[in-house]
């Protein structure tokens, strides 16, 4: 069966999917908001439809417009990427009802897993261990707060508040003390309503010292459901992953088998078809607990691709066409690490930053992979997620992979916007990261008062020489791409800021 794919996403994941389609000989349609016209991903599609609207809700979240774009361009399938509409069962259903192929699991599977409370209940029924905790179904804020507080007292502190429709750290709060509870619960509900239109919150015991280990699963419509081993993503800042690797540095074949089987059981419990990820918390005791299932491709899928040799996006396309998966038995080789480059001020509470990418020079050499949606001359705006790129390395051993990552981060030059590159580079030298004994609180443990760069005074002084000599030499280098007149003024987010945000 031949298909034409509309990619209902933007940025690096849109680039990833569009390139995979092109290689597979599949025609492509990109949709973009007006402020994304000219973005890299729009250049990789055969056709581009500009969505009319000036907010995310009226563009990338506008189901009717996207389905109409598919219809008007002759697209026959929709790939949702991650984020945006990727886990919206109503969208999956609308896509199917429009006679299009949904590249993902059924709306029913998305619903069962997408609502985190329902998922916990489904997993308990399927015999997959879940974290001790309670679901609270009230929707009225006052009632909900009361019920949550009571549940919190039963679960015990420290605990985690999580949005039932949540993901990506949004609508999540750690609460260590009953006194913090109300403000945290209100904040979580508010963020959840804003992000997902659903303020329901559930409570999990906060299992400190645990690892975040997830299993990639793939299932086709021919009855085959497999797992592709684990990814360890314990290293998180503000509940968002920044450093991911495969295989897990402390994983054993027996534990992989047990977690893999649990993940396959979880997928089968909802008749899963497509690519998905079952996330677990791995306690120091060796016990593991179901966290949630992401019913879509994940940001960190490349590390699995590099160690297993499976092209997950190509398999998604095969599965969507009704073909069996092409990949064979699980075969893990070497070690892969991904870091997420964000436009953010890691020294300032990871506050997102914006600005022009005056210089954007990724490192080069064997064993490096860069998944990005930007290039030199682009602008980082406050409109979208501040992730600039994923830098992924592969090497025969974990030690060599870390060495490669250090070299790559040292050579990565981004000027014009504050990034977390130096933070990531220092992370590679943290004892827990070097040994692989990372947990979800590693960053907070290592930098309890927030991260501050280790600045070499010699380099600091030499950088002043560089700035001054460049000024005297007249090297007022401006990006020559795009509307260069815009770059020289008005876009500097720092001009009047001289203080720190926690």
């Amino acid at each position: 069966m031949s298909i034409n794919v509309l990619v209902a996403n933007r940025g690096e994941i849109a680039c990833r999917v569009l390139r995979a389609c092109k290689e597979a000989g599949i025609g492509t349609v990109a949709v973009c908001a007006p402020n994304d016209e000219g973005s890299l991903f729009t250049e990789l599609a055969d056709r581009v439809v500009v969505l009319q609207g000036d907010t995310i809700a009226t563009t990338y979240l506008d189901q009717a417009q996207i389905i109409e774009a598919a219809r008007s361009t002759g697209a026959t399938a929709v790939h949702p990427g991650f984020g945006f509409l990727s886990e919206r069962a109503d969208f999956a259903r609308a896509v199917s009802e429009a006679g299009l192929i949904w590249i993902g699991p059924s709306p029913e599977a998305i619903e069962k897993m997408g609502d985190k409370m329902t998922a916990r209940q489904t997993m308990r029924a399927a015999g997959v261990p879940v974290i001790p905790g309670e679901e609270v179904e009230e929707t009225d804020e006052t009632d909900a707060l009361q019920a949550l507080r009571e549940a919190a007292n039963r679960v015990g502190y420290p605990l985690l508040l999580k949005a039932s429709s949540g993901g990506g750290g949004k609508g999540m709060r750690a609460v260590h003390d009953p006194a913090e509870f109300e403000q945290a619960a209100l904040g979580a509900r508010r963020e959840a309503v804003a992000a997902f239109g659903d303020g329901r919150i559930y409570i999990e015991r906060l299992l400190s010292g645990s690892k975040h280990v997830e299993i990639q699963v793939l299932a086709d419509s021919h009855g085959r459901t497999i797992h592709l081993g684990e990814r360890e993503c314990s290293v998180q800042r503000r509940h968002q992953k920044v450093f991911e690797e495969a295989p897990g540095p402390t994983m054993t074949p027996a534990l992989r088998e047990a977690m893999g089987s649990a993940a396959v059981a979880a997928a089968q419990a909802v008749d899963y078809v497509g690519a998905g990820t079952v996330e677990f918390l791995l306690a120091p005791t060796g016990e593991f607990f179901f966290l949630e299932m992401n019913t879509r491709i994940q940001v960190e899928h490349p590390v699995t691709e590099l160690v297993t040799g499976v092209d997950i996006v190509r398999e998604q396309l095969r599965i969507a066409k009704g073909e069996p998966m092409a990949c064979g038995d699980l075969m893990i080789r070497g070690h892969a690490i991904e870091v997420r480059l964000y436009a953010e001020d890691a020294a300032n509470g990871f506050l997102p930053s914006i600005g022009p990418l005056l210089v954007f020079r990724p490192p080069e050499g064997p064993g490096l992979r860069l998944d990005t949606g930007v290039r030199e001359g682009d602008e980082v705006t406050p409109n979208y997620d501040p992730m600039l790129a994923k830098l992924i390395v592969w090497a025969p051993s974990r030690e060599e992979a870390l060495q490669k990552m250090r070299r790559a981060l040292d050579e990565f030059v981004v000027l014009g916007t504050t990034t977390n590159i130096r933070f990531l580079r220092e992370l590679c030298d943290v004892a827990e990261v070097v040994s692989g004994n990372t947990t979800t609180t590693t960053i907070d443990d290592v930098w309890p008062h927030g991260w501050t760069p280790q600045v070499d005074e010699t380099l600091l002084s030499a950088s002043l020489l560089a700035a001054s000599a460049a000024e005297s030499l007249g090297l007022n280098r401006q990006s020559t791409r795009g509307a260069s007149g815009d770059l020289s003024d008005g876009l500097n987010p720092f001009q009047t800021i001289s203080r720190r945000f926690p």
Partner: protein, 155 residues
Amino acid sequence: MMQHRYVGPEEPVEVNLTKQGDAWTHDGHRLELHGERLKITLADGTVHLAHAAKTGDVWWVHLNGHTFRWERMEPGATSSGHDGGLAAPMPGKVLEVLVDVGQSVTAGDALMVLEAMKMEHRIVATSGGVVTAVHFQANDQVAQGAALLSIEESN
């Protein structure tokens, strides 16, 4: 010899640059142009290639895996932005104002909650003082750099 002046993460700094032939020196370091890059011989003798780019008044410099940001000041000008005003770090929406005019605050107190880039950000007092003005209320859109509150410092 040329004087340059910058605002960095800490106090303003002054640079006295000397030119010798095609090379520029400062603090024992030496710089020569190397294509579009800057070749720097540090005081310790090691050689590194730097990237530099300017936007507005700000020079960005990448050197040996580190990135530095220096805001240039005209010689003689005074430091900007230390007037106790708290400015919006980026465009966004005010979600909540946590203080009133006249209220005393201490360093670390949350003053306002902003939403930007799909995340909530707390604006926190960097020093103790009294709130003398609150320029926005909940649901207001704020431009980047907009002064959000004024605080009179109590030293």
